[in-house]
């Protein structure tokens, strides 16, 4: 028996492209805009969301027949908040340096609409294993966009990747800068993220016409 059936594989692969949470469902945009000025922050945020979403989806799925529908949103919020606090505390105790980088995102994870969206749309109606795959898949879909945007913004805005200069030294005028290249300061401010995400959405829909919504 294969580990993943075809349907299960689609749970992971669909959110990567044709049902991407950011570019197609346009969820989780707030964090995609706020933290993608640097590649490192994008990666850290992606890993955190992966963790919270994978476990959160399983927890909600296990509780799905017990959760009273009237207070289900609050229950979802408690699960997310509890997971985020656990991650934060464990990091503070055992990976203090990393926790300082992460603390900015704690609030952002709690408010990330992709997580709530998947709890609501998937985990409440499906078993734990499939919910886990769905959570992981959507987190990867989110990560792909975040990392692409982070890569472009850091490269064009600061000339670095993960903080390491890759285009030469802008002050000493070496590398590309010797030919008159300048960093584009616009790329590191939040509106640039909106434009980059917009361009990604454009490219994706131009490639696959079936994704274009009817006007």
């Amino acid at each position: 028996m294969a580990l993943l059936s075809k349907k299960d594989t689609n749970l992971i692969l669909d959110p990567l492209a044709d049902n991407n949470p950011i570019t197609i469902q346009v969820l989780g945009i707030c964090s995609a805009l706020a933290i993608t000025a640097e590649l490192k922050a994008s990666v850290v945020m992606s890993i955190s969301v992966l963790f919270v979403m994978g476990i959160g989806n399983v927890v909600i799925s296990l509780l799905r027949n017990l959760i009273p529908s009237k207070i289900r949103i609050i229950v979802q919020l408690i699960v997310i908040a509890a997971l985020v606090i656990i991650v934060d505390q464990v990091l503070k105790a055992f990976a203090y340096e990393l926790s300082k980088t992460l603390s900015v995102f704690v609030g952002l994870i709690i408010t990330n609409c992709i997580i709530m969206g998947r709890f609501e749309a998937f985990a409440l109606g499906n078993g734990p294993w499939r919910s886990f795959l769905d959570g992981i898949g959507n987190a990867f879909g989110y990560a792909v966009i975040l990392i692409m945007v982070g890569f472009l913004r850091e490269l064009l805005g600061s000339g670095t990747l993960f903080g390491v200069p890759v285009l030469g030294d802008p002050i000493a005028k070496t590398g590309l800068y010797a030919f008159g290249y300048e960093n584009n300061g616009f790329m590191i401010i939040p509106p640039a993220a909106l434009i980059v995400v917009g361009v990604l959405i454009w490219i994706q829909r131009a490639q696959n016409k079936s994704l274009i919504e009817e006007a």
Binding site: K92, A93, Y96
Partner: protein
């Protein structure tokens, strides 16, 4: 077995159980990890203070590397020879003054109460460093740091940190190219105490002019930069009685 999950009584019982379970889980974890977290915070303060007086493991021009946590305690005890508090214009020695929460003390002053402001004196390579902590507001949340000066009120080093400034913009106050700019500036030009301003377009991006009490701002982080200016100005004001007493004329 099927439960009617729509009943009000069930909803309330579920909510109570959920809160109790999650609450105790989090409380248990917090108390279990508390001592470890406290220790990390203590080491961090020691690392930051040492960093401000130029004691670090920086290997190149751009990275910030602290003394590792395994050694920081003994190095801190060796180099920091005095920990004091400034209270109502008087300076008194106090052990472990570095653990004082500056935010609380500043709030006391705002309320008009008597506060104990911590300060440190350290020696490294026959150079005396007078280190004052700083606390202020950035764009989103708190910013803080330490500043080390010598007897001539020339800044020997600074360390800035922040709680939640924007990554890539305001968060860059803790990067070398920003912090290093402060070294060599004077907080008392012409005998008059003042801060260091973070300004845009002062035609000195490499900060070669050390007499202007200005450093070049970070692009896209105006409010965080202004926060840093205000924080330094406030701290110099708070610690002026102490700074005055050590200044050589």
């Amino acid at each position: 077995m099927s439960i009617n999950t729509e009943k009000n009584s069930y909803t309330i019982i579920f909510a109570v159980i959920m809160v109790v379970v999650v609450g105790s889980l989090l409380a248990l974890m917090a108390s279990g990890l508390k001592s470890k977290i406290k220790e990390n915070e203590r080491f961090e303060k020691q690392q930051n203070i040492l960093y401000a007086m130029g004691v670090n493991r920086n290997q190149d021009e751009s990275s910030v590397n602290f003394i590792p946590t395994t050694e920081v305690e003994s190095i801190f005890n060796n180099l920091i020879e005095g920990q004091y508090v400034l209270s109502g214009g008087e300076i008194q020695a106090q052990e472990e003054a570095y653990l004082i929460d500056l935010k609380k003390e500043i709030n006391k002053i705002k309320k008009g109460d008597k506060a104990s402001l911590p300060l440190f004196v350290g020696t490294n390579d026959n150079q005396k460093y007078y280190i004052i902590p700083m606390y202020g507001k950035g764009l989103w949340d708190a910013i803080w740091g330490y500043m080390a000066v010598d007897e001539d009120m020339i800044i020997k080093g600074v360390y800035f940190d922040h709680k939640a400034e924007t990554p890539g913009l305001g968060a860059n106050i803790k990067l070398r190219y920003f912090m290093d700019d402060f070294i060599g500036e004077s907080i008392a030009s012409n005998g008059k105490f003042g801060g260091i301003s973070v300004v845009k377009g002062n035609n000195d991006p490499l900060n070669e002019d050390k007499s202007d009490a200005e450093v070049d701002a970070l692009a896209g982080a105006t409010i965080t930069g202004n926060g840093v200016s205000d924080m330094i100005k406030e701290s110099v004001k708070l610690y002026q009685p102490f700074l005055q007493s050590i200044m050589t004329n």
